[in-house]
């Protein structure tokens, strides 16, 4: 399965918008080793959207869309928040859920896809903000992990409700003062990665989007482990530059500062022995294939 799904009837080609033609001609659907290195020389699966200039959510979206292993056989589930301004401009099938319901929708979707397409692999990826994942949707998030639902949950953690002007979220840091949370947060940032591990996620990673190669590695692992083993969770710091008072070009430095030793987004990952064995096996096979290919040349 590859680009066949998006190819246009030749008779309609001349009335198809250029952006769509670019996707047909230059997007990386069906490319097995697709990754962030394709960007710049291929058409990305995300187009002009209305996020603020310089928004790190936008950078993270680009890195993720370049990394998902099989976009043509993936359905993404979004939720309300700044990310929902991007989904209409994403060239992967996606569903907008009611705020907080994303992991419940993804559960039904993943099961229905397995039932409808028993001989095909279909990936489901939830991508939602911290408010959707940790506050309003926490019940659905946790229950899907307890039930070992086989899909990936990605949280764009900007540590507040950005889309509605800066209210407190469970992932906000203790003491942080936001426009709509003037007294400062009284509780610690919820330790969702650790909760995810204890709730049965086979793979969990915490990172920022400052290194596209790292985003690519964790996204691929998360999706492939979810396919074979069980739920996976990624928490990516995508600072809301608008609400924390940064300039449009300061988002990258903010992410780099937050991932130094001892800081809250220092890269960390948890993986179960079963998931690790699966990844080791996959890497060994890839290595063997490469060796065989170079021996044949």
């Amino acid at each position: 399965m590859s680009k066949e799904k998006i190819v246009i009837n030749p008779e309609f080609w001349d009335i198809i918008p250029q952006d769509y033609r670019d996707l047909v001609d230059h997007a990386t659907y069906g490319k097995t080793d697709r990754g962030w290195k394709d960007v710049g020389s291929s058409t990305e699966l995300i187009a002009e959207h209305s996020l603020c200039a310089g928004c790190p959510e936008s950078i993270a979206f680009r890195h993720i869309m370049a990394s998902i292993p099989a976009p043509e056989d993936t359905v993404m589930v979004g939720s309300t928040g700044c990310t929902s301004l991007v989904f209409p401009m994403v060239a992967v099938q996606n569903i907008h859920s009611l705020f907080g319901n994303q992991n419940a929708i993804a559960t039904g979707l993943k099961r229905a896809l397995a039932y409808r397409f028993p001989n095909q692999t279909k990936d489901v990826i939830v991508l939602a903000g911290d408010g959707a994942t940790v506050d309003i949707g926490l019940d659905m998030t946790l229950q899907s992990w307890f039930r070992q639902e086989k899909f990936t949950t990605i949280c764009f953690d900007n540590e507040l409700y950005a889309n509605t002007g800066g209210q407190e979220s469970g992932l906000m840091q203790k003491g942080f003062v936001a426009k709509m949370a003037p007294q400062g947060k009284k509780f610690e940032k919820v330790r969702l990665p650790e909760i995810a591990r204890e709730s049965g996620c086979a793979y969990v990673a915490v990172l920022t989007t400052s290194k596209p190669s790292l985003v690519e590695r964790v996204v691929k692992q998360a999706v492939l482990i979810a396919r074979e083993i069980g739920p996976t969770y990624l928490q990516i710091y995508t600072p809301c530059i608008l609400e924390i008072g940064k300039q449009s070009m300061e988002g990258l430095q903010e992410m780099r500062d937050s991932e130094s030793a001892g800081e809250r987004f220092k890269f960390r990952e948890f993986i179960t022995p079963e998931a690790q064995a699966f990844i080791d096996d996959m890497n060994a096979k890839k290595k063997a294939d490469k060796l065989a290919a170079s021996a044949n040349n």
């Binding site: 960007v39 710049g40 020389s41 200039a53 449009s248 070009m249």
Partner: protein, 70 residues
């Protein structure tokens, strides 16, 4: 009037493998590679003028990007 990034082809070292601005520009399909000339270029209609590309290019001492009023 728009505020957009512009890449100086003489100063751009994409031919040596640099992809910094392409990696970090928040907008998709906005900074692209000219595969023939081996330089990066800005699709102005997609540029939001955030200047992040200038920051990363300057930090690497290439200084190939400037902001322009259009």
């Amino acid at each position: 009037m728009y505020y957009v990034a512009e890449i100086n082809e003489e100063a751009c070292v994409a031919n040596k493998g640099c992809r910094l601005c392409i990696m970090y520009c928040p907008e998709a399909n906005c900074i692209m590679m000219n595969d023939e000339k081996k330089v990066a270029f800005v699709v102005e209609s997609r540029c939001k003028g955030c200047e992040l590309c200038v920051v990363v290019c300057d930090a690497a001492k290439h200084k190939a990007i400037t902001m322009q009023d259009r």
